[in-house]
C-alpha cells in the first residue's frame, strides 16, 4: 500500500512529469517492514513499553522544512494554492503568469489525481511546470514537491506556485514548505464554506474570492463569507477578483510583488 497517500495503491501510481514527457514511477520507496511472520497470539500488553513522543506527520514536516530551506536560499517565494475543484485556480495562474511575465519568473507544480490537462495549460503560458498525478491520492505531500522541484531547475528570485489537488479537507494537514497557503473560493460555491471546512481557512493566510463577475447571478454574500472566515482565522486577508474578466487581478499581482520584495 502506498504510504504517500494511503490509498491502497502502489507508490508507482504517483507520477511526476513535465508536459510532453512519459510518466515514470515516483522514486520514493517503502521503508517499513513487510512479510514478517504472522503471530496468532493474543496481545496482553505485558511486553515492553517504548516511549516515542513523535509527531505523526514528522516525516512530512521534515521534508517540508528541507524544501523551505531550499526556497529561502534561492529566494523563491512559494505559495500553496488550495480550494475545492473548479474554483478557478488554473485560470488564476494562467492570468497571473501572463501579467507578471516581464517582472518575475514563475514556475508551477500542478497536483491532480489524473491527466496532464492543467500542466499543458500552464505550459502554454511559457512557465516551467511539472504535473504530479496522485492516482487516487487526495493531497500533495512534501516529498512530491521535493521530487517535483528537482525536475524544475528553479531560477533564483522567482515565484513557485503549487496548485494542490482540489480538496478543502486533506491538503490542510500537509506542510509542503510553502511561505503561505492561499485558499481560493468562488462565488458559485456556498458563502458558508469557511464554517464547513474551517481547518483549511484556519491554516491559510490569504483568501481569494474568485468569479466576482458572477455575483449578480448567484446567491453569495461576500461580507458573510468574510465574516465566517474571520471567525475561523481573524488574521486572514482577502482579495476579490474575477480571473476571466480581469477585475481585481492587479490587487493580487501587487500582493505577490509586495511579498516577494523583488519589485
Amino acid at each position: 500500500m502506498c504510504d504517500t497517500c494511503g490509498c491502497g495503491q502502489p507508490n508507482e501510481a504517483v507520477t511526476i512529469r513535465k508536459p510532453g514527457e512519459d510518466g515514470h514511477s515516483h522514486p520514493h520507496h517503502h521503508e517499513h517492514e513487510h512479510s514478517q511472520p504472522h503471530d496468532h497470539s493474543h496481545s496482553h500488553d505485558h511486553g515492553r513499553e517504548i516511549v516515542v513522543e513523535t509527531d505523526i506527520l514528522s516525516k512530512n514536516n521534515l521534508i517540508a522544512e528541507r524544501n523551505r530551506g531550499y526556497f529561502e536560499a534561492k529566494n523563491i517565494f512559494t505559495l500553496n494554492l488550495v480550494s475545492s475543484p473548479g474554483s478557478g485556480k488554473t485560470t488564476i495562474l494562467e492570468k497571473t503568469i501572463s501579467s507578471l511575465k516581464n517582472q518575475i519568473t514563475c514556475a508551477v507544480i500542478e497536483g491532480d489525481q489524473q491527466t496532464m490537462n492543467d500542466a499543458n495549460r500552464i505550459d502554454a503560458t511559457g512557465a516551467a511546470v511539472v504535473q504530479v498525478n496522485t492516482g487516487t491520492g487526495c493531497h500533495l505531500d512534501s516529498d512530491m514537491i521535493n521530487q517535483g522541484v528537482k525536475k524544475l531547475d528553479l531560477e533564483n528570485d522567482s515565484i513557485l506556485f503549487i496548485e494542490n489537488v482540489g480538496n478543502l479537507v486533506c491538503p490542510a494537514l500537509f506542510d509542503l514548505g510553502e511561505a503561505h497557503k492561499v485558499v481560493i473560493i468562488s462565488v458559485t460555491e456556498g458563502d458558508d464554506k469557511p464554517h464547513k471546512y474551517p481547518t483549511m481557512f484556519s491554516v491559510s493566510d490569504l483568501c481569494i474570492i474568485n468569479k466576482t463577475d458572477l455575483l449578480p447571478y448567484v446567491d453569495f454574500d461576500i461580507e458573510k463569507c468574510k465574516e465566517y472566515a474571520r471567525q475561523v482565522n481573524p488574521n486572514i486577508e482577502f482579495i476579490e477578483l474575477s480571473a476571466t474578466k480581469g477585475d481585481g487581478m492587479e490587487k493580487w499581482t501587487n500582493w505577490l510583488l509586495s511579498k516577494t520584495s523583488l519589485n
Binding site: C170, L173, P198, P234
Partner: protein, 113 residues
C-alpha cells in the same frame, strides 16, 4: 481520507522503532489526538487496522487519548474550552484567541514483545 495517510505514518514510525528494539510484535500503540486536529477518530481506527496488515503491528490495539481543545482569549484574558474552529469566547463573544491545545497529533508510546 487523509486518515489513511496518518495511519500509514503511525505504522511506519512504530515499525521502524520496534525493529530497532528487536521486537517481533507490536501489541498496542498509544496516541494523543486533539479535538481540533482535523482527524476523525472512527476513520483513523478503521484505517489503522488496515494499515497494520502484513507488518509486525498486525492486530495491534490502538489507544487514543483525546485532548480537548482549550483557548486563551486575548480580549478578556480568560481560558476556555473550545468546541470548533469558529466558536467565539463564551465570556466576551470575541474571536480573538490563541489555541493552547487541541491540535495534537502524536504517538506517545507503543508496547512490544
Amino acid at each position: 481520507m487523509h486518515e489513511m495517510t496518518i495511519a500509514m505514518n503511525i505504522v511506519d514510525i512504530v515499525c521502524k522503532q520496534a525493529n530497532d528494539e528487536n521486537a517481533h510484535k507490536i501489541n498496542s500503540v498509544n496516541l494523543e489526538i486533539g479535538t481540533l486536529s482535523g482527524i476523525m477518530i472512527d476513520s483513523l481506527e478503521f484505517c489503522f487496522e488496515a494499515a497494520c496488515k502484513n507488518t509486525i503491528a498486525d492486530g495491534a490495539g490502538l489507544n487514543i487519548n483525546i485532548i480537548k481543545a482549550e483557548a486563551f482569549c486575548q480580549t478578556c484574558n480568560n481560558n476556555f474550552s473550545i468546541e470548533s474552529d469558529f466558536s467565539p469566547c463564551p465570556i466576551c463573544d470575541n474571536f480573538n484567541y490563541k489555541l493552547l491545545k487541541g491540535k495534537e497529533l502524536s504517538i506517545k508510546s507503543f508496547n512490544i514483545d
